[in-house]
């Protein structure tokens, strides 16, 4: 998994690519979020449009990140969830936890 970081209207967008599957991915995602929170960025959009697949360990990474951001009073939302990943959210009932958007502007505006 790779992470690219950019900002739009003050909201941080993390673009993930590759496979989200635990191992070293956990630490790199966690560190990225902690640095952002430390710098005062509490609202984060995670774009997973370029994630080819995710396993249950990868789900754990998203959940842990979500909790970390929440604890700091921020919010983490998802962008571009593929049908394949959406079906995994459904069977794990995580679609009730993660707010997700298919349009970047909508996602950014949702923080307003």
């Amino acid at each position: 998994m790779n992470i690219k970081e950019r900002k739009r209207d003050g909201i941080v967008i993390l673009e993930l690519s590759g496979k989200l599957m635990g191992g070293p991915d956990a630490a790199s995602f966690d560190e990225t979020l902690k640095t952002l929170l430390h710098e005062g960025s509490f609202n984060v959009i995670v774009d997973i449009g370029n994630i080819s697949w995710i396993n249950s360990t990868g789900l754990g990474i998203l959940i842990s990140g979500y909790s970390t951001v929440r604890k700091s009073g921020g919010e983490m939302k998802l962008l571009n969830v593929s049908d394949r990943i959406q079906s995994i959210f459904m069977v794990s009932k995580l679609h009730t936890v993660f707010k997700s958007y298919s349009d970047e502007e909508d996602a950014v505006k949702s923080f307003a």
Partner: protein, 139 residues
Amino acid sequence: MKSTKSDIILKVPSKLLYLGVPDAVMMEMAGDLPFPVSDMEMLSTAVIEACTNSMEHGNGMNEDNFVEMHFSFLEDLVRVTVLDNGPGFDHESWVPPDDLMAQRGRGVKIMREFTDELIYDFADDGRFRLTLIKKMKPE
């Protein structure tokens, strides 16, 4: 279900890096078989879970221990068996954590939901073997 020889046999070391390989094989075959891609994706997601577990819980992430997979593409179903060198486990008695926010413990649930049949036994050579079967409606 016809009993046939496996079509494709794949062996990879127990290293997360290689988890993408069975998925690449399944998705390559999905492009040529007359089955819905979403069904192949679900089965592949279940296979990734089985492999992750075989690497981690079965082979203890020891790279010298391989995970072996057999793929059978039949007329109306796809069957994948996953073998590891560990003690095995009874997935039927596994109760996933209740907590929606639990970080682990979702693999077996995903395998159950995304397959039609999930069978565990031991191969003749003693290796633990999980068989994942998904019925396919030719398109």
